[in-house]
Amino acid sequence: MQDELFAARDLTIALPGSQGSMIRIVENLSFSLAPREILGIVGESGSGKSMTALAIMGLIDVPGARITGSMLFKGQELVGLGARALRRLRGREIAMIFQDPMTALTPVHTIGWQIDEQIRAHESLSRAGARARTIDLLGEMGVPDPRRAADRYPHQLSGGLRQRAMIAMALSCNPSLLIADEPTTALDVTVQAQILDLLRRLRHNFGSSVLLITHDMGVVAETCDRTLVLYAGNVAERGPTGDIFAHPGHPYARALLASIPPLHGVRPSRLLSIPGQPPSPAERPAGCPFRPRCPQAHAQCEQTPPMVRRGEQDIACVLAAPEPVQA
């Protein structure tokens, strides 16, 4: 546990709902991230994955939002940390890239201006010094002719180049942790391949850990060392990516993998699909949240499922092992 860069313990995020109730978007989420590790958080829309990222960044600005549990970053507790201290971490130690590079960059400033701005917000560097680093970074991110690209506005660049600029900006202060929220969802498949390739190389070139948030099981399989499957704000399963894809333990993870049409091999006449849809956070059933859609649900699932250890996998399902172990 000594070498953990980041660890969340029982992280719960609740937002105020109607009539004074608190709606728990994320419940008792625990995971850890080692230096240079790529951890994938997968889940469908509404699973709470983006909310988790915003909570780490301290960017949930909904009035009345309540974050409980613990988030340790390099031994420092982030839950309840003051605004000023958080701001010093943001962009410098923990950086984030967003889904749509078109809307995530300010349209009225050049790419270079925006990257310079981040560098100069955290380091006392001259304008020229910051620009020199910006151009270096853009070049490292594979932006052709970085000197000219720095003087361009976001709308003048293609989607792929914008995302590279976005990553360059995120990496400009050498953060230890990079949070990537659906970084390739808005991109075409051939450009997605380039960006994923870039993300994989970050740990060598920049020594950064990456928290990759996505809905795409394929992206996780190809990019992440370890994976966390979220369902309706709860951990369904976590463990090494290879293990999870080879022997998914949770019925949800199994069904999710089976519902993806394969690109190779036998073409099934029908896809396995999960009946119904994920519950909204306000209507989440007690006990196992997957119970209403689970083909193996039984009476015991009305209790909160235990976290079962199987090899290196943690599975939130009573069926995962004969002898449940409390985690």
Partner: protein, 346 residues
């Protein structure tokens, strides 16, 4: 047998505002360039490509929701390219479209019953008689049954449904007039994986029970593979490869198709690294496409000839299976391509 729909050298050009302070310069965007294809009854043609390749424009031009700039469209052998809107109305019930955004396609202020019965109130029966009330009521029940929606859905409004269910409503509406052809433009790409599988299965089931023909437009290769019997791959407004789904996806002949396939991240963790072709750069703008083969700027196999000469679609010889497999490349990945194009049609 007559193809249910056929496109001959279809082109679509848009005039777009160019640079300058007040957009005085205008340029031409070639969304479609010389596209020919045909779909036989009962077949499902998948059209794949990245954004800006013209696949949505093609779908709309085939149904004449957008007027093509050149070329012809034939529906069941009948030339509909220059038909008046009035004359088209007779054919409209037979060809329907399903869109990506399930919410934007449904009027939020109307109940599902109204949305589903509207096509029947607007159009007449093939015999020319209007649809009567009891027929519509029966048909609504059938449609809900076909698309797996509860009967209680009729009295509700679009916003009360999830994305997957709304897409079922869109499909039900498209089916209301018993069409023979459905063009589906990215119908599952806005849905979560588990819901996506439900809708793909629904498309498959409907094809079997109703004998439908689909043109299925998607950027997701694995979705297209699941549903299509043949595939056309588009790049910058042109078809670069087409043929039977298995043949094209398992033994692609065009370097672009090959790159597209290897670029898809697969939910499989393999021991060794997959051999993959990572293309350089982005798709060029369709406003100023590269000369010659439009893919040559990103092609790993491009040679001098590629930047000059536009390659025509030519069949692979010998044909890999009974379906024709054609490729538009000077240096395709599979042999026998340097044989003259015997089958090439205008």
């Amino acid at each position: 047998m007559t193809p249910i729909i056929e496109a001959r050298s279809l082109g679509k050009h848009y005039r777009v505002a160019g640079g300058g302070l007040f957009g005085q310069s205008r340029r031409t965007l070639r969304a479609l360039d010389n596209v020919s294809l045909h779909v036989m009854p009962g077949e499902t043609l998948g059209i794949v490509g990245e954004s800006g390749c013209g696949k949505s424009t093609l779908g709309r031009c085939l149904l004449r929701l957008t007027q093509s700039s050149s070329g012809r469209v034939l529906f069941e052998g009948e030339d509909i390219t220059t038909r008046s809107e009035r004359a088209l109305r007779r054919l409209r019930p037979r060809m329907q479209m399903v869109f990506q955004d399930s919410y934007a396609s449904l009027n939020p202020r109307r109940r599902i019953a109204d949305l589903l019965s509207e096509p029947m109130r607007v159009h007449r029966q093939p015999s020319g008689a209007p649809h009567d009330r009891s027929f519509i009521a029966q048909r609504l029940r059938d449609l809900l049954d076909l698309t797996g929606l509860p009967i209680s859905a009729l009295d509700r409004y679009p916003h009360e449904f999830s994305g997957g269910q709304r897409q079922r409503i869109n499909i039900a509406r498209a089916l209301a007039l018993q069409p023979s052809l459905i063009v589906a433009d990215e119908p599952v790409s806005a849905l979560d994986v588990s819901i996506q599988a439900q809708i793909i299965n629904l498309f498959t089931d409907l094809r079997e029970t109703l004998g439908l023909t689909y043109i299925f437009i998607a950027h997701d290769l694995s979705v297209v593979r699941q549903i299509a019997s043949s595939v056309a791959v588009m790049y910058l407004g042109a078809i670069v490869e087409r043929g039977g789904t298995d043949s094209v996806l398992h033994a692609p002949a065009h370097p672009y198709t090959a790159a597209l396939i290897t670029a898809v991240p697969e939910p499989v963790v393999s021991a060794g690294a997959r051999s993959r072709v990572i293309l350089k750069g982005d798709v060029p703008s369709p406003v100023s496409p590269p000369p010659g083969c439009r893919f040559h700027t990103r092609c790993p196999k491009a040679e001098a000839r590629c930047s000059v000469e536009i390659p025509a679609l030519r069949p692979l010889v010998p044909a890999p299976d009974e379906a024709l497999h054609e490729v538009a490349c000077h240096y395709p990945l599979h042999p026998a391509s340097n044989v003259p194009d015997r089958y090439a049609t205008g």
